[in-house]
Amino acid sequence: MSDVAVAPAGPARIAPFLYEIPASTRRDMRVPARIYADEVLWERIRGDASLTQLMNVATLTGVHGAVYAMPDVHEGYGFPVGGVAAMRVEDGVVSPGGVGYDINCGVRLLVSELDRKALGNKLESLTHDLSRSIPSGWHANAELQLGPAELDRVLREGSAALVERGLATAEDLRYTEAGGSLAAADPAAVSDRARSRGHDQLGTMGSGNHFVEIEVVDEILDAAAAAVFGLRRGQVCVLIHTGSRGLGHQVCTDYVRLMGEVMPRYGITLPDPQLACAPINSPEGQRYLGAMCAAANFAFANRQAITAAVRDAFSRAFGESGGLRLLYDVAHNIAKLEEHGGRRLCVHRKGATRAFGPTHPETPAAYRSAGQPVFIPGSMGTASYVLAGSDAALAGSFGSTCHGAGRAMSRRAAKRAQTGGEVRRVLEDQGIVVRCPSSAGLAEESPEAYKDVHRVVNVVERAGLARRVARLRPLGVVKG
């Protein structure tokens, strides 16, 4: 397997913020690889295995048009993180490695009617309350232990399964991608082992780069779209980033193994075994899609359960004035069947966000004059952005954009650069309240470990993938 950092022969800049590696670069590539970047990001992207991994994706059976890397791309396993590839349903494959272990890891933004000054001196106690209310790491959620029938319902219905418990509203479902429930979910395709990892993890954040952050709208960049989204300067918001936890990890583990076993039957050979795949229309492909949708539903419900805990904390702090409206919830590790250019495609987004424009039928009706809300978290010390999807992204990236700033530094390098204590002091000097159970974990997620989010978002906008609407600034950070 070829996996070293390379400068492939023949990459060319084909538009101001778009590079292309022609399909002729490698004999096994079926389509070109296209990378959204400016010159600075391009040089960084060439420094790790991202491009080799993207070219490997371009070899998959049934891959359509081109494969794409978003400006936050970095090396992953199989697919690069920040990779998008669409496979024709009639003759293409589905790859669990193209979705990743944290199925439907995603982001949602809750919006309050509070101004920054209304937080007063409650920021520290509110952040502390959130850290106590939302289990992180691998702590279980004792209040949301699910029996087999209840877990089945969550796998089948997603966020909708929480309405009767009072943890979700009809409006929450309306403003969640796919209504917070993928109809193709097949709970029977989820193994007992995966269920045993997930039954006590609903409403938990997990670790690594997962977080709950209290934010303030620092700047409005598109007044008209901000008005559509109900955003104004100085407004307090909450950004939630987590996924399907151990249940999703196990689903991916189970199906990477299964597909590795059946690939010879379908005559599939790969440059990287982590791209293990099966035809979309095969029994194994269909079974994976059913299990993946079930895990995605678990993730939607997980973010919804955390939303309920955040609402409770705000209610304790501010009473009736502490209400939180869900602006939108969007997945960034998922494979979805979508129509593009009249073709039915299975779009794999690995560390990439759907970014549909104003005319797309899946953009909520209330947002049709702006576009689907997109969230690009930066790091806990810089900024995050709210954007609006564009119709141009449909042609330019199968309606996708990036999911964050993207790592610039390995976790080990980040820990060598700064201790967790140093990171905490820097953040506190900026007035940011931090709660994190692990000092090493804090160092790994330091702002310096990430690319410049402003540069990444600038490329997204200049390339026409999405339009900046508002910039958020972190006030309180709860890390997993």
Partner: protein, 140 residues
């Protein structure tokens, strides 16, 4: 094979994940060392209680590289599901497609949080003059 070579491991740079390299004079040592490396990555430094019981862990796969992934994924599952993190190992049976190990280690109060899965990306188990070299990327 070099009898002076002791099993050892290192984590090497990877932008997003953790890349584990393991060296051992024997295939059995490669697997037990990778188990110790995983416990280290999971932050489990607790000593083994004197009354800790040995218990078996068994996995199968199509070849020795896939076996390494199955072994690590089994340990990840046991850590998360049972909060049991073995740090001492005795290999009972090893072939390129089957591994049976007795493990002993602490039951930790909180399930380890760092590692989601062992992947097949960049996966290698290679025999050379001095023993074996294994490489695996762990999703963290």
């Amino acid at each position: 094979m070099n009898p002076d070579l002791q099993p050892h491991h290192a984590f090497v740079e990877h932008t997003g994940e953790e890349r584990l390299l393991v060296h051992s004079p024997t295939l059995a040592g490669l697997f037990t060392q990778s188990g110790r490396a995983l416990a280290e990555l999971q932050g489990v430094t607790t000593t083994v209680p004197t009354d800790a019981q040995w218990r078996p862990v068994e996995v199968t796969a199509t070849d020795s590289a896939a076996l390494l992934v199955e072994w690590l994924n089994e340990l990840i599952f046991l850590a998360e599901h049972e909060r049991w993190v073995p740090v001492e190992f005795r290999v009972d049976l090893i072939t390129p497609t089957r591994l049976r190990v007795w493990g002993r280690g602490p039951t930790v109060p909180v399930a380890p949080s760092r590692v989601k899965a062992a992947t097949r990306h960049g996966l290698e188990v290679v025999r050379h003059d001095a023993g074996y070299r294994g490489e695996v990327v762990l999703d963290v």
